[in-house]
């Protein structure tokens, strides 16, 4: 069974700062939902509020339509996977997994059987009698998932559970977590600062900054149509051209920047008007080289500083107008590209892919 989770105007304040500011969203039952943001953005606090460990200053949490006020973490239909997993070191794997059943008074034979089933589900059969410290990082990860699932939660909360693992394992477990979620059919709420995790696994993502949810949408929306400067700079690589809006027309704008006048798309409901400070964001892959000078729109000069070959892409670091550092990616088309250091080139920014957003704080590099 899976349940909706509704956060209604939630504020969480501590003595000297506000961790969550007016969080107001509904996470649908069966959804894989991620909160993405840099450390200190309030995402973990929000997760703890859903699980019941964190008191709200204002607002309400509803799970499956039921108000959770006054209901303790041990009575909520949620299970939390901790960042450090918090497996019980003095219990065996099966005792860990079936702790929630032990609490309910389920007999030992039944618990052993359930542990085996769950170990099967998380692809870790035959490890029931081991101690936790005999397992590898990835195996512990799976035990933590099994332990949480054993409680038959309607909502599974995951607090950066992959952050301690190495890259390969992390990528592997991403797919696996996604599959487990589909099989278990329950709501997953996932906390991460790793945009790769959020983009690959989630149905929808909420990007947070300093306690505020800046944008909610699926990965594609967040990446291609960021609504704030922070989202644009935090999710994926982006080149930011600061400037002033000189012209606005239907869905388009021209911003005067150091790199000349750049045409870019406006997001839906954009409030930019002529004269406003704005930033044009252009992804590395939305830029290209032009040979002839006939295309004057959105073109500026840049010099290659450094090139990197990554198989399917060439990654280039360019020095643009006013020595502005730019990143650009060019698909490896098979023809021998070689952008020698120091080469001067004409760079074009695709006006359909570039986005103009009101000036605002950017993500730290």
């Amino acid at each position: 069974m899976s349940a909706d989770v509704t956060l209604e105007n939630i504020w969480i304040r501590f003595d000297d700062f506000t961790a969550v500011k007016n969080a107001d969203i509904t996470i649908k039952g069966g959804e894989f939902f991620s909160f993405l943001g840099p450390s200190g953005c309030g995402k973990t606090t929000l997760l703890r509020a859903i699980s019941g460990f964190q008191e709200l200053s204002e607002g309400k949490v509803y799970i499956g339509g039921k108000d959770m006020a006054g209901i303790g973490p041990n009575k909520r239909p949620t299970a939390l996977i901790f960042q450090n997993l918090a497996l019980f070191p003095l219990m065996t794997v099966w005792e860990n997994i079936t702790f929630s059943l032990e609490v309910k008074g389920v007999g030992k034979a039944k618990r052993l059987k359930r542990a085996d089933e769950l170990l099967e589900l998380v692809a870790l059969p035959g490890q029931a009698d081991k101690m936790v410290n005999e397992l590898s990082g990835g195996q512990r990860q799976r035990v933590a998932v099994a332990r949480a699932l054993a409680a038959e939660p309607e909502v599974l909360l995951l607090d950066e559970p992959l952050s301690a693992l190495d890259l390969k394992l992390r990528q592997h477990l991403r797919t696996e977590l996604r599959e487990i979620q589909k099989r278990a059919g329950i709501t997953f709420i996932y906390i991460t600062h790793d945009q790769g995790e959020a983009l690959t696994m989630s149905d929808r993502i909420a990007v947070m900054r300093e306690g505020t949810i800046e944008q909610v949408g699926n990965g594609n929306m967040i990446y291609d149509h960021p609504e704030t400067a922070f989202v644009a700079s935090f999710v994926g690589e982006n080149n930011a051209f600061h400037g002033t809006v000189s012209k606005i027309s239907a869905g388009k704008t021209i911003v005067k920047t150091d790199a000349g006048e750049l045409e870019a798309t406006l997001t839906e409901g954009s409030r930019l008007s002529t004269g406003d400070k704005a930033i044009v964001f252009a992804r590395p892959e939305s830029m290209s080289f032009v040979n002839r000078k006939n295309s004057v729109k959105n073109v500026f000069k840049a010099k290659v500083v450094y090139q990197e070959f990554e198989g399917h892409f060439w990654h280039l670091i360019l020095s643009g107008p006013n020595d502005k550092k730019l990143k650009m990616s060019v698909i490896n088309s098979g023809s021998s590209h070689d952008y020698d250091e120091g080469t001067e080139l004409q760079v074009n920014v695709n006006s359909k892919l570039a986005v103009a957003l009101p000036s605002g704080p950017l993500a730290a590099e």
């Binding site: 699980s51 460990f53 973490p73 041990n74 939390l80 918090a86 609490v103």
Partner: protein, 310 residues
């Protein structure tokens, strides 16, 4: 071994190495092992009244088991099958020490847990201070103050009588309640700190994880916190047990007239009885039985000896 010493000297230099070795040697051999060996040897000797001083060290100055025999069976003209008084007191002392230890665990575990996992900054410091400062007061003063507190006309009786909870005063000293309270109180810190140390190193997330999985508070303690704190609990228990069984001043001052503590008997042999060999034999017996008892309990609760040193 020789290699180890060579490395040790090379690493620390001659002066520091000699100093450390000398100190360790003094601490373990001179201060601890030697006196106990003397006592052990003493416990097998004749008392000075039983042997001509000129014969001490001579062929007639042999080892004897008479003092241990006396502890078990009393004097040769004792009509009972064993030394009823001394053996009973011995047993009662051990039992009372067990009781004091249990009392302290029950009292101190919640406090230690609160200090280690719940209390924050200022409150922790305040609680620590209020635990430590009372121990600036010396033992004798504290013992006599307890007499006033627990006396027949003492504060506790007066309050209970005033409140109408009691019709007539209870003699807490005679009933040994004062003694148990006093002993329990005296060793509180030795129980709290080892448990505190153990519980403090428990990852908070473990407690929250258990709670999140639906566990009520008592099961969290039973399954997660106590198993983790077991070495600390054991270490506290061994200290409190050993010290309670070996306490002298408190039983002397606030013990009931009917209940002798075994240490008091030992003291009598050394002091008024001026029979050091017998006192040594009694003290050795107490030590050995206590150690065996502690090791047995550790075996039962599956605690490894090394763990209590953590």
């Amino acid at each position: 071994m020789i290699l180890w010493f060579k490395k040790f000297f090379l690493r620390n230099g001659i002066v520091l190495s000699l100093y450390m070795l000398l100190m360790t040697f003094t601490w373990i051999v001179v201060m601890f092992v030697l006196p106990q060996v003397f006592m052990f040897d003493f416990s097998f000797r004749f008392n000075w009244t039983q042997i001509d001083p000129s014969k001490i060290g001579g062929p007639e100055d042999v080892y004897t088991l008479q003092h241990y025999k006396f502890l078990l069976f009393g004097s040769p003209n004792n009509p009972d099958p064993f030394n009823v008084v001394d053996v009973t007191v011995f047993g009662r002392t051990i039992l009372a020490a067990v009781f004091v230890t249990l009392f302290d665990v029950i009292l101190c575990y919640p406090v230690a847990y609160y200090l280690a996992q719940v209390a924050k900054g200022g409150i922790t410091r305040l609680m620590m201070l209020s635990l430590i400062i009372p121990f600036w007061i010396n033992e004798l003063l504290r013992a006599f103050a307890f007499r006033i507190l627990f006396g027949e006309e003492g504060t506790i009786n007066n309050v209970l009588l005033y409140l109408g909870i009691l019709d007539q005063p209870i003699d807490y000293v005679r009933e040994n309640i004062a003694l148990y309270a006093g002993l329990g109180y005296a060793y509180i810190l030795l129980m709290i700190f080892p448990i505190y140390n153990a519980v403090e190193s428990l990852d908070r997330n473990q407690i929250e994880a258990a709670r999140d999985l639906g566990s009520p508070w008592w099961r969290i303690h039973w399954r997660v916190v106590i198993p983790f704190a077991k070495p600390g609990i054991t270490s506290g228990c061994t200290m409190v047990f050993m010290l309670s069984a070996g306490a002298l001043a408190l039983p002397q001052i606030i013990g009931g007239p009917s209940s002798l503590w075994f240490t008091q008997i030992i003291y009598q042999w050394f002091n008024t009885g001026s029979n050091w060999p017998r006192g040594s034999a009694y003290a050795m017996s107490l030590l050995v039985i206590c150690v065996i008892f502690v090791l047995l309990i550790m075996k039962v609760f599956k605690v490894k000896f090394g763990e209590i040193g953590r």
